[in-house]
Symmetry: C3
Subunit: 267 residues, 3 copies
């Protein structure tokens, strides 16, 4: 593994306005990046610059099935060499369940070198029994299990109590983290309203039922969402669906080196 | 030409939810990418990853006049080596007509190695006679002729009947495909309203007059537009003005490996 | 320094619709790019393609503190080799003032090889005396001084007369250019309303008080803003917070090789 050296000489003269940022490997303060199809060189360039700020890389949607030749294997190896977990988008899991190929799917995921897997039912209805079985099976294969709650389509949104029950049940059966759906857009989905604003009452009800808020990863593709979650939960909130080109900008937000979080410190 | 190998082992265990996706070289299911100024390395990296999903690369606006040194020639050769057609943005054609340099323009396009050309009047008024002459002249030079219909400025929008007449006439005179204007923004232009929604009644009237809907390439920069056109016309609708970084994401949408098209299959 | 050769053969047959574009090194027509965390390869690729169209590169927010290992030093050297000035985001200056480390900050900026510095109070309140002292101190260290006017938070917006006084005072004390705040979003900040529209009356009042409008750099991240400023002030207006991937698209807009400025010429 390439050990990224920790930052540079700026640090010697200034302190980060927000402190306490956790270091890798970490259990909170996780950043999950959504990759919509970065080439190998672009990936290498990004990791060389800011690999230490990325914990999970998700190959979004079904894009990983579409890579030419050996690019997928090379990419998986590259990403892992930076101590980053990598997994295919949840769409794949849903297709595998639909096609009755859950076990082959998980075996292939493992064999290809992915280190994690997403168990979701954002699009397809999946029974509680199948979900439980999938979590178990993936955990047995020593894949990090990330489950996802929240329907992608606002018309099929379930009550908050169901969502809370699902989070608790997923954790019980072996999920390492539960992702709160935000999609690529961050609007009209999960706990975001149609303008992308966090529905605070629901978020608070969800949080109070949990032993520890760090079991959640919030998909938060929009800067205002990242900012609001950082202001509520601190530097080390887990955030997902971060655009690859915004990794350093998010990290600056986490440590107070960006206007929107700096102003907090100056009040 | 570099022959991109067809995808990877995922395919062996799962089927694409939407099938029948055409392969290159193809006459439908075309993806035209708008390039707003990618460097050589970025281009190479993209093509290495997903060149098989790109049919046309348009060097947007007049950017191709602004490339430093030999970058343009190298880029043209690189793109062609992946079996992708490449052409300069339509703005150039309109400037050439304004400056009475149509023939020199087309000759230079050909000499530089571009394989296609766009004939449009999105900004400048161009007579039917000049348009016809340009199509003929470009076709004689063995350039693939892509014409474009729809004004860029909504205030100068012409009636649908004129647009339909233009499509039929362009095809008659030698256009390979006719592009339906969507601009970079996808809003308030062509058959999109100011919110970027497809004007369905006009689209349907246009389609019913055509021998074959595959003569059109729809500029559809917004994901919801791509999705709506895919749902109406199937995996193999021709789409244009696709952002370079969304090529794999679009392909996932085409084959059903993305929530928005997967849910179709599960209904 | 690598001397980028001036464009290519297209120029021999067509004239730019808008002419008089200034060449580097230039005092007006400046383009300042905001870099949210580009890797070394991506930066090299961009500069190789269009380095001649970039005058300033700003490492946005506090991102420059977060670069792994030697990437920052390499990047500074790379950017300078293209004759481009480079500086860290203004957040840093504000943190340095808060932590009473102004002088060490400016020394480190200089020692690292940055050629310019931003003096702003977008987030933190900084006294007129400190601002003046900072401008003086930076100028003495032979850093190009860019000051910024306009609060980032619309709720703390000051009257236009204060902003005008600030511009004149900054110039008097040694600022090379004054940046009009537009943020990354271009909305509800500086002279933009919440929809990102330029507040024309304020802009005009500002301009009439200045000896020369070229002392300003307008942060204009949105295409419509760039277009409006180009139409008002001509090809050589100074524009900032340009996305790295839009450098060539902006240059096309500057010289009339894009529909939105071409149509001007055709009226």
């Amino acid at each position: 593994m390439t050990e990224p050296r920790v930052t540079n000489c700026w640090l010697n003269i200034l302190n980060f306005p927000l402190d306490g940022r956790s270091c890798k490997p970490r259990n909170d303060g996780l950043t999950m990046v959504i990759d919509k199809g970065m080439g190998l060189d672009e990936t290498r360039d990004l990791l060389n610059l800011g690999g230490q700020y990325i914990d999970f890389l998700k190959l979004g949607f079904g894009t990983s099935a579409l890579y030419a030749g050996d690019v997928l294997e090379e990419k998986i190896n590259l990403v892992r060499s930076y101590g980053i977990d990598i997994y295919p988008g949840g769409t794949f899991f849903e297709v595998a369940v639909l096609q009755n190929k859950l076990e082959q799917y998980l075996e292939t995921v493992k064999k290809l070198g992915f280190t994690a897997v997403e168990i979701s039912d954002g699009t397809v209805d999946i029974s509680a029994e199948t979900r439980k079985r999938a979590i178990n099976m993936a955990a047995e294969k020593e894949l990090i299990v990330l489950t996802e709650v929240g329907k992608k389509d606002p018309r099929t949104r379930s009550p908050l109590s169901d969502l809370i029950r699902q989070v608790l049940s997923d954790l019980k059966y072996g999920a390492a983290k539960v992702i709160v759906e935000g999609r690529e857009s961050g609007k009209g989905v999960g706990l975001y309203d149609s303008m992308g604003q966090l529905i605070v009452s629901e978020m608070e009800e969800l949080i109070t039922t949990l032993p520890d808020p760090s079991v959640l990863i919030w998909e938060a593709p929009i800067k205002e969402q990242q900012q609001e979650l950082l202001l509520r939960f601190g530097s080390n909130v887990n955030l997902g669906n971060i655009n690859a080109h915004e990794v350093l900008a998010l990290e600056a937000l986490r440590v107070g080196l960006r206007a929107d979080t700096l102003k907090l410190v100056c009040r």
